[in-house]
Symmetry: C2
Subunit: 340 residues, 2 copies
């Protein structure tokens, strides 16, 4: 068992906001970022919780990300809002544009938000859950860095390209998923490398384009997509939808721009919102029941809905008004805060 430390929910927020502000994020950015870090930590999603403060700070220290950037919100069409993050972290742009996205989706039936020129470090599930909280279905996707080979290829070209979806449920936690289209997340391979453990088959190839289970070689070679040529096709779609479609970078362009630095990747993001009312011809409650029967049928056969574990952790942590984090992480975070 890890050596953990317990923080109150208030302490999670305070630690995040104060660290961000000390390193040069203004109050608006610090709050938008903290909202998301807090939501992840509350659900015991450690990899996207307080741990991500290191990446945020790195992004601002390298002087590439702007901690006081004011996002520009552009009404780009009846069903399109574009949010130029102006080199800030994506989350303030997201927060600023979200009310317009929701309004446009409810008015038109479907709408899109394109976030441009942003640094992006966060999980996508909180973003699509902003939509399901508003009674809409939501989809989000974005590129990253060119670490992943297309099916049949030998070199990194695609990002780990996450895809997320959320569906609103009456009086219940939404149905939500958020996954990387790479077989493994980049950080997972890094953990295998540190532990000196062999990777499973089918996760990566070496620099020569040959299958490898050596995590060191995998880091210098290329990762594989999940699901063979189907996952590869989806990943290419994500490159297009969150890149050229919205006038922003592909994973290869994003990686070239970063020049090997460890800050958050810089690129665009697309978020789609769907209004069940207009799309169902007003028959929302019958169709909510239909969706609930589908979910019940999943659970009845012993399967799990995608976010059940996180949602259970959230309920548990809310009830005790606290979360546990590894003691070593906490000590590093205190150092990070003092290191401003």
């Amino acid at each position: 068992m890890d050596d953990n430390i317990t923080l109150s929910l208030e302490e999670v927020r305070t630690l995040s906001e104060s660290t961000l502000k000390k390193h040069g994020f203004n109050a608006q950015h610090a709050q938008a970022i903290t909202d998301i870090i807090y939501a992840n930590q509350l659900g015991d999603c450690h990899s996207h919780g307080l741990y991500r403060l290191f990446m945020c700070v790195e992004s601002i220290k390298s002087k590439r990300a702007n901690g006081t950037a004011e996002p520009t919100i552009i009404d780009a069409g009846p069903a399109v809002v574009r949010a130029d993050a102006n080199d800030g972290i994506s989350l303030l742009a997201l927060k600023a544009a979200m009310p317009t996205l929701i309004e446009k989706a409810k008015h038109n039936g479907v709408a899109a938000l394109a976030i441009n020129r942003c640094f992006h470090f966060s999980a996508l599930w909180p973003e699509v859950e902003m939509l399901s909280e508003a009674g809409l279905a939501g989809m989000a996707m974005l590129p990253s860095h060119a670490w992943v080979a297309p099916a049949g290829g030998t070199r990194g070209l695609l990002g780990t390209n996450p895809f997320a979806f959320s569906w609103p449920r009456q009086g219940k936690d939404p149905f939500t998923f958020d996954f990387a289209t790479s077989q493994f997340a980049r950080g997972e391979i890094e953990l295998y490398r540190r532990a000196g453990k062999p990777l499973p088959e089918g996760v990566a190839m070496d620099e020569a384009g040959q299958p490898t289970t050596d995590a060191e070689k995998a880091m210098n070679g290329a990762m594989l997509t999940f699901g063979g040529h189907k996952g590869s096709a989806l990943s290419l779609m994500i490159e297009l939808m969150a890149g050229p479609l919205i006038d922003d970078l592909t994973s290869k362009e994003s990686m070239a721009a970063a020049q090997g630095k460890h800050e958050a990747p810089y690129h665009g993001e697309i978020i789609l919102a769907f209004d069940p009312h207009l799309l169902s011809g007003g028959r929302v409650s019958e169709n909510n029941n239909r969706a609930e029967r589908l979910f019940a049928d999943v659970i009845d056969q012993g399967a799990r809905l995608p976010s059940q574990r996180r949602q259970a952790a959230k309920a548990r942590n809310l009830a005790r008004n606290a979360v546990d984090i590894p003691k070593a992480l906490y000590e590093d975070l205190i150092k990070l805060k003092q290191d401003a």
Copy 2:
């Protein structure tokens, strides 16, 4: 090598239209269906070419599908068009609604078409390519019958739930993919069963929910999704997007309604259209170049774009103004036509 027969492109069209008309489809339906059967046959997609005439005829013989149904096109919101197929095959409804979908996407930036109460037998790639031909990106998805178990489950619940995407390319065949979210297509398992060949691992489970490579047991058990829990999550999303979101059936409801008959599945479909002009802030040509660099990088490393094989077959068959089909299929088709 199979014993093949060569048909002129004109013969493909005539055989399809006349067979459909003889069995009770009106001229509009026969033409809408033939356009799609022809496109598949032209690309050597045999499983969705003339072979599908058997399913069309079955659907009308069982008296469930209506061969003269007039689709009702409903303007359901600024960015939503709904097409009620009124129990006809989906393709006439699709054809009737497509101009509105394109117009709405170009005006709003993004738009959705919901097709309801349709029999659906066709591949999705021709549907999304109607959008890329109009300069739009397109996405389509639909349920089928509850043959596929969710990840961690033991029983059929999800459909083979196809997902298709197309991206317009200047002066080139579009980038298109169209895949089932099940590991195998239903028909593939049927082929293994007939041939008495064992299935690969990871494709199916038996009635008791245990992994099996026995195709007979798989037909009575459940199929698996591609890509483990990620593919399963995507398949659930497709159930929701093309079912409850648009007031139509889930795969389980569709299978119950069919009562074991071999006609085309009856349910809904959602098609999404995205306008590169509005979404990119008018910078279409720079972003077309960016997308082309992505495709070139795929091909340069020896990988293939998803539809390259079909597009090469199409070019070849257009040049010789003919296609080859198995002789046995041709003989069965002639019988089908006479059997009206």
